[in-house]
């Protein structure tokens, strides 16, 4: 098997420098451990007194935990190459002064959408020929389909404002196919504004991704809901999937947490601190106000929509300990699913089948991920150790992502990182490695991206990545932003 193992360097900047070395060394296979040990201990920075102790530690852990594993970033399964797509800047089609600003918005948005899509490989602009097309007759196939660009696909077009109306024409060409190159030709027209240019770029990117990505709708028009304290209070906010257009949703003036948007995108359920304690609240995005949801008493947290939008699962302590309850979307027909001793919280539906619910339970001590049927039967433990929270089911129902401190407790310093588990085989893989506390993963509707909260930049902010852990991007920068939730479409 051609697995590429990449060894991770310990984070040098953190105060727990030495701990980091040890915690990661524990899992290295003995051979490599010796290599790295030799290098590290030659460094004069480490106090001499600790060298002996450190060495003894290393020996002890070696004997105790030699069969454990290193984390592995694989190069297997690699399959098909991504399509090489060239996206030259769109050309102005009129001479309106507004063109320049709108072109920049459009080109940047289109490039970013395609770049983070995970479906295509964008050809660097430095390889492009000097003459870029704005109209189909201007396409010079031989300039694009051979190196240096060596592109298989070419997305090009023009943008122009005339009479206050912004018109964008875009094409997608298969430049290796001379007979019938056109895959896509689109025209968009709307009142000229920055938002309109952005929207057109999103739409055009989605069309390209839909065709090149095997019929999976793109996510360029999706929204991410999150909690932000930038106004001083924790309120629910929303933004485009790429971090632009951040705007406040709720103005309750209390503390609001765990926003979950409904599958049809019309409502956001969240939990908020009210006079009667933590209650589930419902905000209508169509009416732009909170709508009624019964107050149940006790502490009610982390609502989760079923895939068909008819049911809501959440944890409630109205009967004593926090347990999982399910109700209709209106709050009626409430019934309890779990009865085990110990808290059961953070339910999430398998949105593909609506037949399973994953949740976090503290019935054995530290929180662990469990799954059960939607009627509460067949409860199974999925995580085997450590501290596992925040499950989120992938849209295809195959994977569960969650935050996990694999070695939790004194003497076992572990970081909170995101993991991906295949439900059927219970195999898992680590997605984040870059330090900080990583938590609250939420899947994009296309199943290719995960948005999450991370403190790697110093304070909690929202980040996204591809579902294999690559293309990590920070979306928010002001205030503390937590608990992201990706809209369903």
């Amino acid at each position: 098997m051609d697995i590429k193992q990449l060894k991770r360097e310990p984070a040098l900047q953190s105060n727990s420098y030495r701990n980091t070395i040890f915690s990661s060394r524990v899992h290295f296979p003995p051979k490599r451990m010796d290599d790295s040990a030799g290098k590290k201990f030659d460094q004069p920075r480490i106090f001499r007194g600790s060298i002996v102790a450190a060495f003894l530690f290393a020996i002890c852990f070696l004997s105790a935990a030699a069969p454990a594993q290193d984390w592995v970033k694989t190069g297997t399964g690699l399959g098909v190459e991504k399509v090489r797509l060239a996206v030259p800047d769109f050309k102005p089609s009129t001479t309106d002064p507004q063109n320049a600003a709108l072109l920049k918005t459009f080109n940047d948005t289109l490039w970013n959408d395609l770049d983070v899509s995970g479906v295509v490989e964008l050809v660097s602009k430095s390889f492009y020929p000097l003459q870029v097309p704005g109209q189909p007759p201007e396409v010079n196939f031989l300039a694009w389909n051979v190196p240096p660009p060596n592109a298989a696909m070419l997305a090009f077009g023009s943008l122009g404002v005339s009479g206050g109306k912004l018109t964008v024409q875009g094409w997608l060409y298969d430049v290796k196919n001379f007979q019938s190159p056109q895959i896509l030709g689109k025209q968009y027209s709307e009142t000229a504004s920055d938002a309109a240019a952005r929207l057109m770029a999103h739409k055009f990117a989605d069309e390209i991704i839909f065709r090149l990505g095997g019929g999976v709708t793109g996510i360029a028009e999706t929204q991410i809901y999150f909690v932000s304290d930038r106004t001083g209070r924790k309120e629910i906010w929303a933004m485009d999937y790429d971090g632009s257009n951040q705007h406040q949703i709720t103005r309750i003036g209390s503390i609001s947490l765990s926003p979950r948007v409904s599958p049809d995108g019309s409502r956001v359920a969240f939990s908020s601190l009210t006079k009667s304690g933590w209650e589930i609240m419902m905000y209508s995005l169509e009416l732009s106000r909170t709508v009624g949801f019964p107050h149940l008493g006790g502490t009610n947290l982390s609502p989760a929509w079923s895939g068909d939008g008819t049911k809501l699962a959440f944890s409630s302590s109205r009967g004593g300990e926090p347990e999982i309850y399910v109700s209709d979307a209106s709050g009626g027909n409430l019934h309890r699913l779990t009865t085990a001793k110990g808290p059961d919280v953070s339910p999430v539906w398998n949105r593909k089948t609506n037949a399973q619910i994953a949740f976090v339970s503290g019935r054995t001590g530290l929180p662990q991920i469990y799954s059960m049927e939607a009627d509460g039967t067949n409860q199974q433990r999925l995580s085997d150790q450590g501290y596992a929270v925040s499950p989120n089911w992938a849209p295809n129902g195959q994977f569960l992502s969650f935050a996990w401190v694999r070695k939790y407790g004194p003497g076992a310093p572990g970081a909170s990182d995101l993991y991906l588990m295949d439900i059927a085989s219970k195999q898992w893989v680590q997605l984040t490695h870059d330090g900080g506390r990583n938590d609250f993963p939420s899947w994009s509707p296309d199943g290719r991206h995960i948005v999450f909260q991370s403190s790697r930049s110093g304070k909690e902010e929202i980040w996204t990545m591809l579902a294999d852990g690559t293309k990590v991007q920070q979306l928010t920068f002001t205030g503390r932003n937590t608990q992201p939730n990706w809209s369903w479409k």
């Binding site: 051609d2 935990a65 297997t76 295949d422």
Partner: protein, 262 residues
Amino acid sequence: MAANPEIYFEHDRLGHALAWSAGLHVVVTAALLFYSAIAAGTGGSTWGSGGGGEAIGATLVSTVPLPAKPADAKNVLANESKGLTQSQPKIEEKTPDAIAIQGKNTKIKPKKKQETASKEKPLPAPEEETNQVAFGEGGPVSGPYGTFSAGGAKGGFGVTGGSGDFGTKYAYYVHALQQKVSENWLRYEVDPRITSAERVYVTFDVMRDGHPANVRVEQSSGVPSLDVSAVRALQRIDTFGPLPGDYSGNKISVEFWFDYKK
């Protein structure tokens, strides 16, 4: 000989400290070894091997519905294949020797360069069937047939549309289709004892709206779990995306083969 009492004094103190140091180190070592023995006995050795040793999900990334990175496992620079290009042996160009000036050095006579040049004939080209693509050197496939590889295992396919040129006309669709099947093929479903198997051929249709239908094993590999994993890969797929709008047919038929090798 009177020794400096201060030296003795310091020596004495150092020895004392050394004794303490050695003693403490022994104690710490013993304690740690004792602890490790206990930790090993109380399940410490099961760290990282959750679920009975099946926890190592190293290959899982391949099943994330993303096109994986193109990684050429084979080293094209150093493999045993002779390659496609048949290089002609280089004809050595003899630089004409300098003609000695008469009388300067009579021992060296000017060589006859014409003879050596005419004797050296180009060697016959290395024998290789010209239609044979050497392993790993074929370059991207342009026709309707293609291959993919997944962790040492390979698959391939052929597409037949209505007029027979679907693969060339809509190469992008074929590429997306190929990508999608390889993403959804979970190799861990294959019996782990199998290291290699015969090729399994699966045929299916892609309907107008893009969903696969009539999935069947055309030729079994002889390994039931491999056959099942191949069929499941297709059953897992909801849609390949609607067939291209200007394609006239109602469906395309696809033959997909899976090579399994660990």
